[in-house]
Subunit: 356 residues, 3 copies
């Protein structure tokens, strides 16, 4: 059960990753070739010549078209065949799929599902990405040998932080602090405040705090798999209200979780902050701390992936802190079910009639 | 068909292999984590947190308990959950299996099957292991990519020695000497004497023989997979009776064959001798010779493992020298059958009634 | 679907590849051990002892027989068992298959199918291999991770040359030149002439042409998988007729395509030429150019092999230039069907009767 939501936007890479060269990528099990056309648009085509199945990424560009490296069959940016060497006619079935692409804020998104359902307004956005009072910094593309649902649920799960990241993002102070979960549209939020406690490693380094702080973690998981983690700290003496947390030192860690296939996932992560604006040394320091923390997640998630493949004698157990992950998995199952079936509309009369 | 006997003791390692650290091991396809508790006992728990399936060996010890590395669920030495962070109640289903462990003569045994059937008196033992007139020396843990039945049957098969180990444990003199096989309880014994022949390499090195010797090999295979190979030589002029072989130079090579899974086996081997007592240089020399010989077995057994996985057009043939292996495989099949079924006891009246 | 034609001769290697040593090989999924007997014949036996399945290639030669490395069971050059250590009788079922072998022109052929059908007159031959006015040179054994049908069809497919080998064997001049296809018995031929065009890299190097040439490619594919590519160039001013191409600079590139298994193929290639006779420097230069070209094929074919293993949503398309490959695949399907069924002969009366 791959459980991919195909009618969705997924991050293919940063804008800088795409140029003239043909770049193969796999997203939700779809093999694609991406390149930037002469007008600047990023093009995503099915990476499989319909003739002998050679990946088109093994061919070459002829202007904005892609010529197969085996027999020269050539395809335009819309996937239609424009040349078959050795014959005049171009058969209608000689095409490759063309995937909708959207590029915004230096991020390239691809829609692997039905093209006619691609809604360009549904691409993830947040005002801070274009606001000069925030510093935006792109991090890495972290490859993880794990199922994307396990990667994404980790990002709506504040409870793991104390145990997986004790020296960077968490500490023992939060081990038993309850987690709140709410949903709003396509966003699931899990959060908790740890009041009047020692600052974690991250904010010792960047917040300059020495005494106790109030610390918050808001995990916003936008379906299917984009996570925005709003976390920060403020002097405990201020006793800030939740809605005033913008007055503290605040960071958004954003994870764009892209399912590659049933065994692989890529997490493109970046961060946005209201402190140290324009300070690239601070960005590099944060990158370094995040790399330590995310490598901790990667180790856990890859070990779970191996463990899940073993025969299971008993069902896993669910516990109180799973509320965010549980809601998330249910929502994904519903989306997958909706994609796998055709909804023919509501009945004209009530469907369920109660007889006395 | 894995053909594992699960209700049995298997060697997990030497005593020195287990300390405070969490050590993952696989035995008969069971993934376990082993560690030595503060009272000195070796503990073996199922290596799978029941929550998100992370192997507990990725977590850490908190005193004698093991805390999962993902969300901190914690288990005692009996496998019961003692803490679930974020909640007060400890669900009954939140446990991991705890495997019986027995440690004796510097050897750690684990019982992967039903714990209530673990009979501590059934752990393999022999008086020479505690007798100061014998020198006991632990060898290596040899990893073999082969099915354990092929590894173990090799140890009740004197006939292979002339061909696999011509320079160490055998020579051409024994090629056609018949093999005797007998069984006694859970022990199958195959043996032969080669009378009045040139000594093999091993006893040239350790027995100091130059003229002809009488040489014996007794292969005792204790079900399911512990082999004691009693071999030695004596001056041919003595014409020793079988039961007097203790007067010769005598060595027990002991192999504890542990099935890892259907493709992997570990052979912990050691040796016990009535010569060169306390002479560690002699032990090291013997280790070196055994390593040569067992590497010869490993090469053969791993090649067979690959060959067995290929499609087979014809049934293998059985020949006269297979008597020991044949008896062994039949006994294992019977044990596996007994474990796979429930015996509800004998009938109160004869089951089979003959009508005239 | 492996689609192996088993009743056929396949190249096992060059004569120099076989000596006293036991050499394991896989052909059409059959595991064989080959060695040269004392009378000079190359022997090919099933590489699996019928006793415990150890490959005989792990054993050793005793004279012209092969002794298994595990228990010494020994087999003659005809595959019959000649010794079972530990017993007198030699069971009739204790044999290994012996494969027909034919050696000619320094090439060793094996017949993996039914031995009684092996027709030694059917081994591929051509007069130039024994004609001193031609220079014969053996090249490499190229291992390709691809299905042999894809490798062989590439050799009856002139259309790929312009795109895969633009700097060595082809150039853009041929991209749209039509391909002719004919069949004669067990040979499928695809060919084309490119008249009055710039010489390709190969003939710039070896023909000494500077002005325009007429260039030909004849791809003769002998079923099941031996390809003879007759290619050459002549001064365009001569306007040679097809049958007079022997007057030009002419090369036969010969490929012996041996299916290893469903995922691997070996291409033993050699070349034969009517120019630079006896010039080993020229042979080495040609080898170097062929190695570049065949590495280009290998890259394409291996990428296709990976692509074919992916789930396919749509059927591949066939185009005009596929005529040679299409005929080839149909002929192979017919041969495989013929091998898989028993033909009990023609009916004595018409089978199909039309009623008015």
């Amino acid at each position: 059960m791959t459980q991919f939501v195909r009618n969705a936007w997924y991050v293919a890479g940063w804008s800088r990753d795409f140029g003239a060269a043909l770049r193969p990528l796999e997203i939700t099990g779809e093999h694609m070739v991406l390149y930037r056309a002469s007008d600047g648009r990023v093009i995503a085509l099915e990476d499989r010549c319909p003739h002998r199945l050679l990946p088109l990424s093994k061919g070459k560009r002829i202007g904005d078209t892609v010529q197969c490296g085996y027999h020269g069959m050539t395809f335009g940016t819309d996937g239609r065949c424009v040349r078959v060497p050795g014959q005049e006619n171009l058969p209608a079935s000689a095409y490759v799929a063309a995937y909708p692409v959207e590029e915004r804020h230096g991020i390239v998104w691809v829609w692997p599902g039905e093209p006619e359902k691609a809604d360009r307004d549904a691409v993830f956005d947040m005002p801070e990405l274009a606001d000069p009072s925030w510093h935006v910094h792109q991090g890495d593309a972290l490859h993880i040998r794990a199922h994307y649902l396990n990667v994404a649920e980790n990002l709506v799960d504040p409870a793991h932080v104390s145990f997986v990241h004790p020296t960077t993002l968490g500490n023992a102070a939060s081990e038993n602090v309850p987690v709140h979960v709410s949903t709003s549209g396509a966003v699931i939020t899990a959060w908790r405040w740890i009041r009047d406690a020692e600052p974690i490693g991250f904010f010792k380094a960047f917040g300059g705090f020495s005494g106790n702080v109030d610390r918050w973690h808001y995990y916003h998981l936008h379906l299917p798999s984009t996570a925005v983690i709003d976390f920060g700290s403020a002097d405990a003496a201020l006793a800030l209200a939740e809605e005033d947390r913008g007055q503290g030192v605040r960071i958004f860690a954003i994870h764009f979780v892209t399912p590659v296939n049933a065994d692989e996932t890529v997490d493109h992560w970046m961060h946005v902050r209201n402190t140290a604006l324009g300070d690239e040394a601070a960005s590099a320091q944060m990158d370094a701390m995040f790399r330590v923390a995310f490598a901790e997640d990667k180790e856990i998630l890859e070990a779970i992936h191996v463990s899940e493949a073993r025969p299971q004698r008993r069902k896993p157990v669910r516990i109180a802190i799973d509320k965010g992950p549980n809601v998330y998995r249910k929502r994904i199952r519903d989306l997958v079910e909706a994609e796998a079936t055709e909804d023919l509309g509501a009945p004209v009369a009530p469907s369920f009639i109660q007889h006395d």
